[in-house]
Amino acid sequence: MNNIFSFERFLKVLKYDLKMRVPAVFASILAFLAIPHALHVVMSFGQTFPVAQRVDLYSTMAAFLMFFAPFTIYSSFNNKQGKSGFLMLPASALEKFTSMVAVSMVLLPASFIFCTLILDLILVLLFNDCYGTVVSVDFMKLLRAGSAAFSIIGAALLGNVTFKKKASAKTILCLLALMILWGFGVTDMIFEKLLENGNADAEVMQATLRQLNNITAIAFLAVGILFYLLTYWRIKKMQIS
């Protein structure tokens, strides 16, 4: 028997996750999606809700969802019974991890986008005067957002399998600490560049910022990959006392 990865077993784990864990969260997602529209209807009925504003709103909601969904879907990690049930499920650590990633990074965001578009379409049809045109998907923007989501979801998955209690709050604190450290590093780098070149030349500044953006993007990706590797390692080595 292949004890590392079997696609058939992976599908079983995925099916298990989708049937046992996701439904409880899905209703919350729909409710979460409806809240801003309900608020708009109650507070500013008759006023326009332009596409640009809605896109900003959906993006913020998506960011919240990407981060908090893994904690909710895999909330059983916060108790011994849930953890032991997960670990004792006859599948390899890689299959369980892959299913976790597939649910959190592919299926959930995809369903969120799908539900958002459908809801937006319905609202445009119902309240055309307020909503105007339907929100469209800009795939390039989606791709850029996807790379950020990759690291955010990685952090959430790692936080969920690492912290026993108040996992989401502790993960946020750790991310803040990481960002502060990164901020110090970046400030240091900018100052060094400025000192090297005497005065703040606009061209030098622009080049520095471009360099900084590239480094940040690479660091974000590298940290994201590290988060996923650590999550897998935690699942593989986890013990339950």
Binding site: Y16, Q81, L87, M88, P90, S92, I240
Partner: protein, 274 residues
């Protein structure tokens, strides 16, 4: 089938298991007895792969449990002491989990669940703790795993259900199965478990079959106290007495008396039964 050699385990500085060795065979229902905190649950968790032993060797079907390989996991089920079901329908959960176990029988599950009187269409979190326990025991008995590890299965069950539990385990255990049931409520498993393993802090006091125990010990209720007996304790019926079986007499094993006797004669039990 299950082989433990000098297995040790500590929680931080607190040593729980020290050089535990034993061999367990299929076709038997082992009773793992011991006071609270002697490491019964720890041992079951090591056997199920949830804990990694600090030292020694532990194998189940020749595999190292802590590797948690799917080939191992599909043949082992660990029933925890406290089961807290989530917002899921009992039958849906069982059928979903059962898909991972090649020998799972949905019909057996429904039958056992019916005998326990639990509604399979109810959600776990709508059931009482006792009902949840019955549901998960029904699943454990219907999975058909080679090794079934049950941690205090009678805890939280009412008196009629404890008798039913004994019957259902006896009826549904197969000759190909090795069942280990841990308990500190020794009366709950009377007439079910054979062999009996008695654990003491850090070690095993006894691992013996009922046949071996009756060969070596006699049990009885006597009107007078016998200070020469291995164990003699007064209760409402008289003096519960355990003696060395010097004349080859066969008496039914009183598990509670055996357990208490082992605790007051640790050295003798270790020497005699290991």
């Amino acid at each position: 089938m299950v082989n433990l050699k000098d297995v040790s385990f500590s929680y931080g500085k607190h040593k729980v298991l020290g050089n535990v060795s034993m061999k367990l065979e299929k076709g038997k229902i082992y009773g793992l007895l011991g006071e609270n905190g002697v490491g019964k649950s720890t041992l079951l968790k090591i056997l199920s792969g949830l804990l990694k032993p600090e030292g020694g060797e532990c194998t189940v079907f020749g595999e190292v449990p802590y590797s948690r390989n799917p080939s191992f996991l599909q043949d082992v089920y660990y029933l925890p002491e406290d089961f807290m079901g989530e917002n899921v329908v009992v039958e849906k959960y069982a059928l979903q989990v059962g898909e991972f176990y090649p020998n799972f029988s949905p019909d057996k599950f429904r039958r056992i669940l019916g005998e326990f009187g639990v509604d399979g269409k109810a959600k776990f979190n709508k059931l009482s703790l006792g009902q949840q326990k019955k549901a998960i025991i029904s699943l454990a008995l219907s999975l058909g795993t080679g090794v079934l590890l049950m941690d205090e299965p009678s805890n939280g069950l009412d008196i009629p259900s404890k008798a039913l539990l004994r019957r259902l385990i006896a009826e549904n255990a197969s000759d190909e199965q090795l069942i280990i049931i841990s308990t500190h409520q020794v009366k709950d498993l009377e007439n079910l478990i054979d062999p009996i393993i008695i654990m003491d802090r850090e070690s095993v006091l006894m691992n013996a079959s009922i046949e071996e125990i009756t060969r070596r010990l006699t049990f009885g209720i006597e009107p007078q106290e016998d200070r020469d007996a291995l164990y003699c304790q007064r209760d409402l019926r008289g003096y519960v007495t355990v003696r060395r079986n010097e004349y080859g007499i066969e008496t039914p094993v009183d598990i509670e008396a055996l357990f208490n006797c082992a605790l007051v004669n640790k050295a003798w039990f270790k020497e005699t039964f290991n």
